[in-house]
Structures are given as C-alpha cells and as structure tokens.
C-alpha cells in the first residue's frame, strides 16, 4: 500500500512537470477519489506497459478535488466515488466544460470496528443512529460499556458524501441529517484503518479494498427483518450487500483520442480483471 503510494507520488512529481510544460497529446492527468487511486493507478501502469508512448499521471485528493480540477481544466479525467451534483454541472457549463459520466466499477462500503469489539452486525437504522450521534454507547448495541468513537472522512471525500446521503439520510434528498459534530474527520481511508486497528471503541467506514485482518467488517442489513450481509465481492455483485456504490469516471465531453483509448482499456476484460485484483467489483 505504502509503496504503491510512493510510486504514485514519484511518478507524479517525476513526469508531471514535463506533462504540464509540453502539454503534448500523449499525456493524461487523472485526479480525484482516494478510493479509486489504487485501481486507476493499476490500470495506468498496465496501460503504459502496453502503450509505452503514452503517459498517465494519477493523483488522489478526493472526489470533490477531482471534479473541481476537471471543472477548472487542470485534469483530463476525474475519478469520483459519488455522482456529480447539479451545482457542479452548472459551474462546469459556465466554463464550457461538459462532464461526461462513465461507470467504471462497483464498490462496497465497509463499516469497520476493532476485531476485539463483540458487535458484528448492524442495521442501516442503527448505523444512521450511530453516525448522527443518537446512539452514543456500545452498550446500546450489545457491546461493552464504552462510548463510541466516530471516524469519518473529511468533506472532500466522495465516501463521506455517499455515506451521508445513503446511510444518514437514507437516500432522501429532503432529509437534513448530518454527521454528529463529535465525529473525528480523518484525512484518508488509511488513517481510519489505522485508528480502528488500535482503538477498541472506534467505528469507521471506507471502501472494501482497505479491509485487512486488523479491522473487522460489520455485517449490515437493510432493516431488522432482512438478512445481515458482509461486504464481499459476491454479495456486492448480487446486490445483496446494502451499502454499495458505483465508481465513476468523468471526462470533458464524450471521450475521444487518448482519453477514449484509456477508458476502453479500463472497461475491457483485462481492465475489469484488474478491478477484481484491487478488491473492487467489476461492472460486467
């Protein structure tokens, strides 16, 4: 993981300069969702092996960061783990940029606790109660008498936005539920994974690619009458796991040229194979 990040940074700083300076045609800037960085980086590495004349630079920063770069014209492809908002589309059109959406993969959002925590299944209602601060103690969920430490991503994260809209607000646009102000805002999925692995009363959420043996993914059910499902690839493909979302790619207008070549590769059988290798779920 860490080595991969270093490679990303190295690649970015090493060649991004030439990329900006020359603005030549076989150079692509890809930016956005931290959830998708590893996946898109793997695509880019394999793609560049096949097409050594092209160069792709992949950086994270969060879905919002990617989309705002696409709008300001500082990247060619934005990775996003949430849908673009109508506000963002308006802003883009003002700058004569036409965001074009492509579904590239699926992701299950895992809710994780420390392996020592006895709580191992929760309903969406309970999750909403926990993250809005209505449920404050693990005792209320059948766990030990300890106050719950909420871990959330920063507001620039697509995962944050998705979780708020689909869990806290249950997909209801009129709802005004918010994360409890006491929720700790951490700047990366890895930071949440680290904190959960050393704090027995913490609960956090992130893309299922980040699950390791140091965290325990909670089984989630739509309501208390449904079956509790764990975030596995099978369950996400079958649509059984209730917290899954599309991973999206946004381009300026319909993809053409190099952008199209790269996206075609990502959606090809080989590209979707890489999706499985990086613990996400392919679209076909």
């Amino acid at each position: 993981m860490f080595r991969r990040l270093i490679t990303v940074f190295f690649l970015f700083f090493g060649v991004a300069s030439t990329c900006f300076a020359a603005k030549n045609n076989n150079c692509l800037q890809i930016k956005g969702s931290d959830t998708m960085v590893n996946l898109v980086q793997s695509w880019a590495e394999k793609y560049m092996e096949i097409n050594p004349q092209d160069f792709l630079a992949v950086t994270g920063g969060g879905s919002g960061t990617g989309l705002s770069s696409l709008i300001s014209g500082s990247c060619d492809i934005a990775m996003s783990s949430r849908f673009i908002t109508s506000k963002e589309i308006d802003l883009a059109r003002k700058k004569s940029i036409e965001p074009f959406e492509i579904k590239a993969a699926l992701d299950g959002l895992a809710v994780v606790v420390n392996p020592k925590n006895p709580v191992s299944k929760l309903t969406i209602d309970q999750l909403a109660g926990i993250f809005t601060g209505k449920i404050k103690n693990w005792k209320e969920l059948g766990g030990p008498d300890a106050s719950i430490v909420l871990l959330s991503r920063e507001v620039n994260s697509g995962t944050h936005v998705y979780f708020k809209e689909h869990i806290l607000r249950r997909g209801n646009p009129a709802s005004t539920e918010e994360f409890a102000p006491a929720a700790l805002m951490l700047s990366s999925s890895q930071a949440i994974a680290d904190e959960v692995s050393q704090n027995t009363s913490a609960i956090g959420y992130y893309g299922m690619g980040y699950i390791s043996s140091k965290q325990k993914a909670v089984a989630v059910a739509k309501d208390d009458k449904s079956v509790y499902e764990t975030p596995t690839i099978d369950n996400v493909i079958k649509g059984l796991y209730p917290i899954s979302r599309p991973l999206l790619i946004y381009t300026n207008g319909e993809p053409k040229g190099l952008v199209k070549k790269f996206i075609d590769y990502a959606l090809s059988k080989e590209g979707q194979g890489i999706v499985v290798q990086t613990d996400f779920v392919p679209i076909k």
Partner: protein, 287 residues
C-alpha cells in the same frame, strides 16, 4: 560615476524593501475580495457565532464559532505549557548556564526549530496520541491536549531565542548594582533582570503564540478535526487552519464554501495580525 552606482544600488534596495509590503498588501486585498463575498449571502453574526460547520450541505451551515474556540483552546494549552518552560530555559541560558552548556543548549533549541511541523505531527500521532488516550482513559487520544503539547514544542524555540535576547540586552550595570547591594543571584534575576527584560519577554511570548495559532499540519494530524463546541481540553477540536487546509482542495472556485474558507482566512489574519502588533508594541516599548 560612483554617485550613479550608489544611487542605483540605493534605489534597488529600496525596491526590495517596498516589495515585501507590496506583497502583503496584495495578499490582504485578495483575501478581503474573496472573503467578503461570503457576506452577501451569510450574515457576519451567523458566520462568527454560528455553532455548526457543515459546509457542503444544502443549505450550507457556515458557523465558525467551534473552529475559533478550537484554535484558541489549542493555542491556550500550548501557551500554558510552553511559556514557563520557554522563559525558564531562556533565563537559564542567559544568566546561569556556563558558556559550554550555553552553546550546547542554544544549538539544541535551534535544532528543535528546524524540525518540520509535519514530522512533529507524525511523531505526535504515533507516540503522544496513544499515550494521552491511556493516561486519561479517553475514548480517543486525538484531542486538543495532544495538539497543545505538540505545538508547545514548536513555540518554544521562538520564545527561548527572543526571550534570551531580551535578557541578554539588560545592561550589565543593573546586575552589578544588584550584587553590590548584597542581593543573591536569584533575587537579582527575579527582582531586577526579569522586570527589566519584561517587555522583550512578552514580545517573545506573543510571537510564540503567533506561531502556534498559524500552525496547520501538526494540528490537523493530531487534534481529530471534529467541529464541536469544546468544553474540555481532553476533547477533539477542529482549528481554523486545519479547516482551510482540509477543505480548500475540494471547494469549487466561486462557491459559497470557497468564499467561506477565505473568510476563515480573514479571521485568522486578524488574529495573528493583532498578536504581531501587540508583540511589536512591547518590543518598541523596550527601546
């Protein structure tokens, strides 16, 4: 010929001097222009005294009171820790330490100043945070206290070096006079040297605090960034600086959120400007 050369060099230096002021003014104008745009849609009182910070909701809630209090709490904690240690250290270096120890300590302090804040933040995250959690039996160690302790390390070099200068510049005759009257070393320090250097020490303290309130990376890593109204130093807080750093990348240029972050910048600017002006007043009073 020499006169012309002299003239050109003089003017060039003048230009360099003016450049810094010019840049400050430009930055301030830009900050005002972007930040004040927020108040077309959000009232000043709602912004400054609102207790909820949900910048990306519809409609956005942009109250920065928890952020201001968070910044002040962390700064206050850091001041309480760093001022006694810093001033004590300066006293020791300036008055008591033998020359060799003095050189050694001064080098150490300079080295402390040279550690990048992100490194201090990282060290704090892996060592201090679990320690705070276990000692106080807290649900999490990402608290204002952890931030204060780490920031105290950052303020100390500033406080020590400026306070030491102030102590050093107390005229020797004061000290000799006190000794001649039969005062002990401690009586001399306590009754003569400290009062004589007090304005310089206050300036040192203010500059140290100014450094703390503007610090970003370390606080973002170890204070937890939860925008709650803090009622204890053992709670997570979100500071003004960390908010700008964490959210600026996401804010779409020209959106309300973007203007709000610049308005937060204005608030920060005003706070550190006030601190620097106070420090300056103390320094000039000295002379």
């Amino acid at each position: 010929m020499r006169k012309i050369k002299e003239f050109i060099i003089e003017k060039l230096i003048l230009l360099c001097g003016l450049a810094s002021i010019f840049f400050v003014i430009l930055i301030f104008i830009f900050l005002l222009k972007e930040g004040l745009a927020l108040f077309k849609t959000v009232g000043v009182d709602k912004f400054l005294f609102g207790q909820k910070w949900y910048p990306i909701s519809e409609p956005a809630q942009l109250g920065i009171l928890p952020l201001i209090l968070g910044s002040l709490l962390v700064t206050f904690g850091a001041a309480v820790i760093s001022i006694p240690i810093g001033v004590g250290c300066a006293l020791y270096i300036a008055e008591i330490a033998p020359p060799k120890t003095k050189e050694f300590l001064k080098a150490g302090i300079e080295l402390l100043a040279a550690i990048p804040s992100v490194v201090l933040g990282f060290i704090g995250m892996v060592t201090l945070v679990p320690w705070v959690k276990n000692i106080f039996h807290l649900p999490t160690g990402l608290t204002a206290l952890s931030g204060s302790i780490m920031l105290a390390f950052m303020a100390m070099p500033t406080i020590v070096s400026i306070a030491e200068d102030a102590l050093y510049s107390v005229p020797k005759s004061y000290k000799e006079g006190a000794f001649a009257l039969g005062a002990t070393h401690w009586q001399t320090i306590h009754r003569v040297i400290l009062p004589a250097a007090s304005s310089g020490i206050l300036a040192a303290v203010m500059l140290g605090i100014g450094r703390v309130i503007g610090e970003t990376m370390a606080v973002m890593m170890i204070t937890g960034n939860a925008a709650i109204m803090p009622n204890s130093i053992l709670q997570p807080v979100r500071t003004l600086t960390a908010t700008i750093a964490a959210e600026m990348g996401e804010a779409v240029v020209g959106s309300e959120h973007y203007f709000a972050l610049f308005a937060v910048g204005i608030v920060l600017f005003i706070i550190s400007f006030a601190i620097n002006v106070t420090a300056d007043l103390f320094l000039h009073k000295n002379k």
